[in-house]
Symmetry: C2
DNA sequence: TCATCACATCAGGATTCAATGATATAATCA
DNA sequence: TGATTATATCATTGAATCCTGATGTGATGA
């Protein structure tokens, strides 16, 4: 059995991971790994719709994964913390080993989310 | 725009993170961080129902996050890789800084999942 | 001021997912 | 063999969440 504090900790941790658990949000964070971008630039980089991106950015910002800064009419977004990048990097490492399993895991289908055209 | 390979990579990474993005699965992994456990022991440790745990374990195993070993009538589960633990640890670090934001982020409500009684 | 640009917000609909309860399987024991 | 134990699987149901299209807001420029 879990006591209340541990339960809260798990809930928070799950929320944090959920920020990473969507291809569209990952695409946005991937784009921001190199340099801050405004929303229009993120649209270009990812191919997602403006409102979709704006929604995801709201979530990511609320959860402290990205930070924003107003410059004139533009809002620039960047990853909020170096450890966000570390988490992404570590995930890539793990994935390189377990990729086959994850690929075959059809239990929970991830939405495709991002257009793959060019 | 993203090319197909990058898109697949994002989808896989999202799937991997989704394994961590649920309080019940986190509770299971937390229990397994110390030592391998059989399903009954996980039931005891987490307070989740047997079928619920079995479903989550199936997902976690398919995705390569936990490994299982049969011993008589019992199936013992353990974390599949040390880096799973590293990911959890890094998440805790990030969380200790951004916890306030995550807590306030009501955009995507995490299901409560695990009973908090004792 | 009025138009425009950049972005945020909202309602809706479709999809996905977690939990439950019932049932199936597989191993052990009497 | 038949009963029991440990675990897995399945259908269902309710809730969460992602996307879209429309609209709102706030800053800039004519």
């Amino acid at each position: 059995m879990l006591i209340a504090g541990e339960q809260l900790q798990l809930t928070l941790k799950a929320k944090l991971f959920r920020g990473f658990a969507d291809p569209s949000r990952l695409a946005i964070m991937e784009a921001l790994r190199n340099t801050p971008l405004n929303v229009g630039e993120i649209v270009e980089a990812t191919g997602l719709s403006q409102s979709n991106i704006s929604n995801h950015l709201g979530c990511l910002r609320d959860c402290g994964l990205v930070a924003s800064e107003q410059r004139g009419r533009f809002t620039y977004y960047r990853l909020a913390d170096d450890r966000i990048d570390s988490l992404l990097r570590l995930a890539e490492e793990v994935l390189s080993d377990v990729a086959k399993g994850v690929y075959q895991c059809t239990r929970y289908e991830t939405r495709e989310g991002v257009s793959d055209g060019e």
